[in-house]
Amino acid sequence: MQRLLEYVGIEPERFQARWVSGSEAAKFAEIVTSLTEDIKALGPNRKLRDDHE
Amino acid sequence: MAQEMLKASANPLLPVVCKVTKIVDETPDVKTFHVTSENGKPFTPMPGQLGMVSLVDVGEAMFSVTSQGEDHLEFAIKRVGMLTDALHEMEPGQEIAVRGPYGNGFPIDMCKGKDLLFIGGGIGLAPLRSLINYCFENRNDFGHIQIIYGSRSPADLCFKDDIFNNWPKQENTRVDITVDKGDENWTGNEGFVPQILEEVNPSPEGKVAVVCGPPIMIKFVLQSLAKMNFTDDQIVTTLEMRMKCGIGKCGRCNIGSCYVCLDGPVFTLKQLNNMPNEY
């Protein structure tokens, strides 16, 4: 999926998948934090969007 | 001038915003919606004509106008899909959008001076009700009125106030109600509509039969009427099709070269027999 996004010109970091077990609360928080930071750094996505006009 | 053209009055695709003023629970899956615009009725339909009702952000669908008052239209709507689900979730006060009237309506001139036999099943009574109410409002124009109506169970009978109280009280009128299967409180007829029709055995003399209901009921009712010597031009029914524009442009509601939204929804059996069997 990441490779495909990259191929059509979308930053691959916008799609991330991780395996987190139900008991790994700390890992979950860590991943969400880092994902949020990644996305914030990229700024809002303007590609593949359509806001009517 | 260019701008004028897309203004509401000239644009048949532009709906009028209306308020739902009253919602009546008819059956577990049918509700009647009373609809009023700022200026009263959004339009004044003839019996049997249609209105396009929409929740603007959900979708639009065509419904027959089941009745109308001085300042409002009534739509009886069964819950079957996404739009109707959303309509059923509404509370009074909700604004919806309505456009119309569409279609030909019932052939009033053909019915005038005649005895009328209404045969309805389930939600199929909704379009018939517009004509039935019209007849009672113009009682002298019509002869004897006979109504045969049935549904699956007592709970599924629509317009209970009309069928049990208002209509039977009218002069020169007979109402027969039946259910496929009654419950412990049911004391009326049990049996399918065509069975009751055969028991009642009306004479075709000077009569017009107006039929609406599920396809399977219509099929057997037509067989019974034929047995009673009703001719094809004495039988009137109203169809439903998927519609999008309502004004004969978008294509999908055609049966052969007829558009149900313009040329229908009301057809005589004679007309239907001349059309491809694809509805």
Binding site: R3, L4, Y7, V8, G9, Q16, A17, D50 | -
Partner: protein
């Protein structure tokens, strides 16, 4: 050679129908123009005369089996190399029963594109890796003596090397062309869902034909075919707007190759797609 094959096809079809081994034979017949060869469905032995083989027999006939998947009919059909992989695709996806199809393979010399008849050979045949059918009950035609003159993933790297914005522009321009006729979906032997998420009732895809919705359609379809695309190129052939659909499908095939080792979809009935099975040593790019 093509005349000889035509005769063989007709005789075979006639026999199969006469002996009631099958109820229908799917092949090709001649259309109105010299470069029009079009699918034909023969149910009478006499009509076997309609069948032909020539360099314009482009249609992959295997997808039609989906129309008959519930009919219980026994059907014979002619398959080129690529088409035979479509049969494997349908079998692996459990869309058809092996005993209900009689597969007559044709050793394929490569065909022309009936939408671009002036071309010497159809673009999709240039990098064909399987001119000989991979699955058949019977095979006709001489073993083709041809080598592909194009690398399987040619042109993919070119796009991979673009900058993100160039890539985006490239694809947006293509998706702007799409009219969403669904020809690519409907012709695809990998698109066998009875209900598709792109059908109106599903509400995943807006009806509006704008490039963002079109991109969503094409990307989703490509992903759905990941590891299952047989690279027959039918989608690209039938696209009236000439969208390079295979450039997306081949990219995914290329990635799967590099992630899971060399793999070509639906070449071997026993070998399931890498995304359809689990191995301990599967790469875990994102874990």
């Amino acid at each position: 050679m093509s005349n000889e094959l035509t005769t063989q096809m007709r005789e075979l079809a006639k026999k199969l129908l006469e002996e009631e081994k099958v109820q229908m034979v799917i092949g090709w017949e001649k259309g109105s123009l010299p470069y029009h060869s079009t699918p034909v469905f023969v149910t009478n032995p006499e009509d076997a005369q309609k069948l032909i083989w020539d360099e314009y027999c482009a249609n992959n006939l295997a997808s039609y089996l989906l129309d008959y998947r519930n009919s219980g009919m026994k059907i014979a059909l002619f398959v080129k190399g690529c088409d035979s992989r479509a049969i494997v695709r349908l079998l692996q996806d459990q869309q058809i029963n092996r005993e209900n199809v009689y597969v007559i393979g044709i050793n394929c010399p490569g065909i022309k594109d009936n939408f671009n008849p002036e071309k010497e050979i159809a673009e999709r045949c240039r990098d064909c890796t399987h001119p000989e059918p991979v699955l058949y009950d019977e095979i006709i035609g001489e073993k083709p003596d041809r080598a592909s003159d194009k690398e399987r993933f040619e042109g993919i790297e070119e796009i991979e090397n673009m900058t993100p914005d160039e890539k985006y522009q490239f694809w947006q321009k293509e998706y702007d062309k799409c009219i969403r006729c669904f020809a690519c979906r409907n012709v695809c032997p990998g698109c066998s869902c009875r209900e598709c998420i792109f059908d109106q009732g599903q509400k995943w895809l807006e009806r509006r034909v704008v490039s963002s919705e079109n991109a969503f359609y094409h990307l989703t379809r490509a992903l759905h075919l990941a590891g299952r695309c047989i690279e027959c190129g039918e989608c690209e052939r039938v696209c009236p707007m000439n969208i390079p659909i295979m450039k997306l499908n081949k990219k995914i095939a290329k990635d799967i190759d590099s992630l899971f080792g060399p793999y070509e979809a639906a070449v071997n009935l026993e070998e399931m797609p890498p995304l359809g099975k689990y191995k301990e040593e599967d790469p875990e790019e994102f874990m």
